[in-house]
């Protein structure tokens, strides 16, 4: 039983990383109508900024994280203003390919700025474990779970209860009508890219202490988050978040109880089979296409 609780606690920690990344992807999908494949590499880039500020400039970690958040907002804005804003007449698949092109640009630029050596980023809370029912979790892990839930709650509060959230939701449901109603859709989209960048860098800073900061830092998180979006359905904001937590938990259960080597692949295949039977995900609704 204590192993089971241990696994669930660890899964909640990784699940909140996946959920933050998935939320970033879905916010961009809903406002810019493209699945942002570059979310992961942009997060990787900004995590490198944090690591660089911390290691090379000797800033305290919290200040370095704030620096990373600022650079994430900046990169998000830049991507929207320089590229995505000019793609009004481009087909959805071509837009996807643009974000794939972005991956190549960021992957090419990162080594020039930060070198090729893997760097280390410590945890936000260095040490300390908490025992729960025979299972133990580090304070940092607890902090990550709490921070993830807090950010998620905050985001959903903003989306559902504030004027800005209303602007985002109207833009998401119909951009043209939203513009007619006086919603500044350009600013909404730009803000969405900024918010997605911030969510990405937070996920990156949470991931970094588990491995080292390299070009591949966010690859697994990115793929899991994308699949989580498919699992949860792209039609709602909360679907992908739920999908991300489910994936975090099921992956660790499979890795522990079924196969430590093949657990990840089994999960992907199960989800592929799942979407054959429920193409719009757990929560999604079928969109009726008109000819």
């Amino acid at each position: 039983m204590s192993t089971f609780i241990q696994i669930i606690l660890r899964s909640l920690e990784t699940g909140s990383i996946y959920a933050l990344a998935a939320l970033g992807i879905i916010i961009i999908y809903r406002t810019s109508y493209t699945t942002n494949f570059a979310q992961g590499v942009v997060a990787m880039f900004n995590t490198f900024v944090v690591t660089f500020l911390f290691n090379k400039f000797g800033l305290p970690l919290w200040l370095a994280v704030i620096g990373g958040i600022l650079s994430a907002i900046l990169t998000g804005f830049l991507i929207d203003v320089l590229i995505l804003r000019h793609t009004k007449n481009v087909s959805p698949v071509a837009k996807q390919i643009i974000t794939l092109g972005l991956i190549m640009i960021v992957l090419g630029l990162a080594p020039i700025f930060f070198g090729v050596d893997p760097l280390r980023l410590p945890r936000l809370i260095e040490s300390g474990d908490l025992g729960i029912l025979g299972a133990s979790i580090s304070y940092n892990g607890l902090f990550n779970i709490a921070l993830g839930l807090a950010i998620m709650t905050g985001m959903f509060y903003i989306l559902q209860r504030t004027k800005w959230g209303l602007a985002i939701r109207t833009t998401a449901s119909n951009e043209y009508v939203a513009r007619l109603m006086g919603v500044p859709t350009k600013n909404v989209t730009m803000a969405a890219w900024g918010v997605a960048g911030v969510l990405g860098v937070i996920a990156g800073v949470m991931t970094a202490p588990m491995t080292s900061v390299t070009l591949n830092l966010m690859d697994e998180v990115q793929i899991t988050a994308l699949v989580a979006c498919v699992l949860g359905g792209f039609q709602t904001f909360h679907g992908p978040v739920i999908g991300a937590y489910i994936m975090g938990i099921v992956r660790n259960l499979l890795l522990f109880y079924v196969s430590s080597v093949w657990g990840g692949q089994i999960l992907y295949i199960l989800i592929l089979i799942f979407i054959v039977f429920r193409p719009y995900g757990l929560i999604g609704k079928k969109i009726v296409k008109k000819v």
Partner: protein
């Protein structure tokens, strides 16, 4: 306007064969010292990538279905052919056939999935498939050599002709020309028109009697066949295969090839392959700063081409000619 077609438009195969003969001069030029000897390997690799990219072009260009799994299927075929020829000592032809057949069956399964999920989801689903395949290459060390990679030899045709680097290069050209002719014939015929209709509007295509199921499966099968052929050629030309080769980065390169070169263009695909693979290797490496930037340049090119020049760089010649004609005509009117 002259409606008369020249011989290349009437019989595209002649053009492809001439193109192949032209490429076949490269090893001779390298022996004469006009080209660097290493270029043969570079260009051979480029042509292999062009084969896989042609398959992706059928999928993305003609049918409008995106796939990020090309590298995964190519890798699967490469590992299978290496295992079958080296460990099981099967003849090259048999292993070629098996190494193309099995990935293709998996590709058709993906095609079945694609019927259920919409355009944007498909990229993610194929990405997940490629990820599963790549992990498999890493973990099935018994067959794939794990992280240390798997090696293979130059192919032996019909058990008689042991090929070396130059003759394998000719063999690659031979396969490329055949695949170009096949693609041209299929895409200019009924199949191509059906795929085009499907890309434009699925409902309209169905109304015209195009069976979505069969045509999607055909598109996926063709793409996987071409990718597998490229994978087999790769492992027998480069002679090595590592799990890290068959990553998302390579699938992205294939996308770059067909977007930059030109969607629905056969020569465009080859041009794109040269821009993405050969140009960085042959020219950019001479310039010190640009060496690191080739990946960035490809990314920038993708974005610029999509936004400003959706037909791809292959249509530059046509557009310049049109512009020139317009200018001279305009001049004539003014006089």
């Amino acid at each position: 306007m002259k409606a008369k077609k020249n011989i290349f438009q009437k019989h595209p195969a002649i053009g492809f064969i001439l193109f192949g003969l032209l490429l076949a001069l490269i090893p001779t030029l390298a022996e004469m010292g006009i080209l660097k000897n290493g270029y043969v390997t570079t260009i051979g690799g480029t042509l292999i990538y062009a084969i896989a990219a042609l398959g992706l072009n059928i999928l993305l260009g003609w049918s409008g279905l995106i796939s990020l799994g090309t590298a995964g299927f190519m890798g699967l075929a490469a590992y299978m052919s290496a295992y079958l020829t080296v460990d099981l000592n099967l003849p090259f032809e048999v292993s070629f056939f098996l190494a193309v057949l099995i990935p293709t069956l998996i590709g058709i399964l993906v095609g079945l999935v694609s019927l259920k999920i919409e355009g944007l989801y498909l990229a993610i689903a194929t990405l997940a498939v490629a990820e599963v395949l790549r992990k498999t290459f890493e973990e099935l060390g018994k067959y794939t050599g794990g992280f240390s990679g798997k090696s293979a030899d130059y192919p032996t045709l019909f058990g008689l002709f042991e090929l070396d680097r130059t003759t394998t290069f000719y063999f690659i050209i031979f396969v490329l020309v055949i695949i170009m002719i096949l693609t041209s014939n299929m895409m200019n015929g009924r199949l191509g028109r059906a795929l085009n209709a499907m890309r434009g509007s699925e409902a309209a295509a169905q109304a015209m009697g195009v069976n979505l199921l069969t045509h999607r499966l055909i598109a996926f099968a063709l793409a996987t066949i071409f990718a597998s052929v490229a994978g087999v050629l790769y492992v027998h030309f480069v002679k090595f295969s590592y799990p890290s080769t068959w990553s998302l980065a390579m699938s992205l390169n294939f996308l770059a090839i067909i977007i930059i070169g030109g969607l629905r263009s056969i020569y465009g695909t080859v041009l794109g392959a040269f821009i993405v693979y050969a140009v960085p290797d042959m020219f950019l490496k001479q310039i010190p700063f640009f060496e690191d930037l080739s990946y960035v340049l490809n990314g920038v090119l993708i974005i610029l081409v999509i936004i400003f020049y959706p037909n791809g760089l292959i249509s530059i010649g046509y557009d310049i000619r049109k512009l020139f004609r317009k200018l001279t005509k305009g001049g004539a009117k003014n006089e």
